[in-house]
Subunit: 173 residues, 2 copies
């Protein structure tokens, strides 16, 4: 049972580069590295192993595992006759990225739209016609995007289906 650095060098490269990318995805470095570790590991892993393999503290590992579980991209599992917590990656890839997408919409998109609508309703732009117009255009664009995203992310099955549909029709346009 490996619990030192990763067996394959390709795998450890993956963990590291996925880690740097993570920042752009709304995860921090440790969360992204941990997630990557789970992506390239078959067996359930426990907290201590995660900390040891990735050279991070148990505290940090604990917090990241919790957060990844909140995102729903890893799951807690148990081995019979062993009270330790083990974790595995969510097995369904679509589910994983569906959840990441939902989370990102909630964090990045929705507040922006809300913000925009707030500004339009509160602000007085009677002496700034260009601004007024631009904000209205933005609101329209964001509303459209919102409709589309909401439809794609309404539920997992719908999203999966829509994705297939899109693949077929879009390239032709």
């Amino acid at each position: 049972m490996s619990s030192g650095p990763l067996t394959s060098s390709a795998a450890s490269q993956f963990v590291e580069s996925w880690g740097s990318l993570g920042v752009l995805w709304g995860l921090n470095r440790s969360m992204a590295r941990i997630h990557a570790l789970f992506l390239v590991t078959d067996e359930p892993i426990e907290l201590d192993q995660v900390a040891r393999i990735l050279n991070i503290s148990r505290g940090n590992a604990s917090m990241c595992l919790k957060e990844l579980r909140n995102w729903g991209v890893i799951q807690r599992v148990h081995k019979t006759g062993d009270r330790q917590d083990y974790y595995v990656a969510e097995p369904d890839v679509w589910t994983t990225f569906y959840r990441i997408a939902v989370e990102r919409k909630k964090r990045e998109f929705d507040p922006a739209l809300h913000n925009l609508r707030h500004l339009l309703s509160e602000g007085d732009f009677s002496d700034s016609p260009k601004t007024q117009q631009r904000l209205e255009d933005m609101e329209e664009l964001f509303s459209t995007a919102n409709t589309i995203l909401a439809s794609l992310l309404a539920n997992e099955a719908a999203g999966r289906k829509a994705l297939g549909l899109l693949k077929r029709i879009l390239p032709k346009s």
Copy 2:
């Protein structure tokens, strides 16, 4: 001509909250605040004003303006008989977000796909069937997404058109 804090409080609220969101969009705080300032301003503004209004240094303002210009979301303009550089927001809202989307795909998505393909071609997962399978599934999902995104972002006009199309067909599915 205002060059102190923003005239409208709604506008200044907008600038600040857009600023905190910016981080999630791949911009830093100052870039996002500056961008927001341009969004709610009709008149061309020059570097000095930006620095003064937002209480940031000229150096920082200069770097952010440069970067925003690289992203293509603001433009440099000139007033006749005045050699100072003025800047305005890109007037077309779709163009603005199209460019942000292109940039984000390039930064966030493409490296992830590349990474994944690299791992699949280099790594040996003969003793990790689950991992092998999961990575292949991920590659397929990312490839599909890539096709769709590429089609949406092929060029501005196509994207605009596709967005309208999507809005009409998706909600029904």
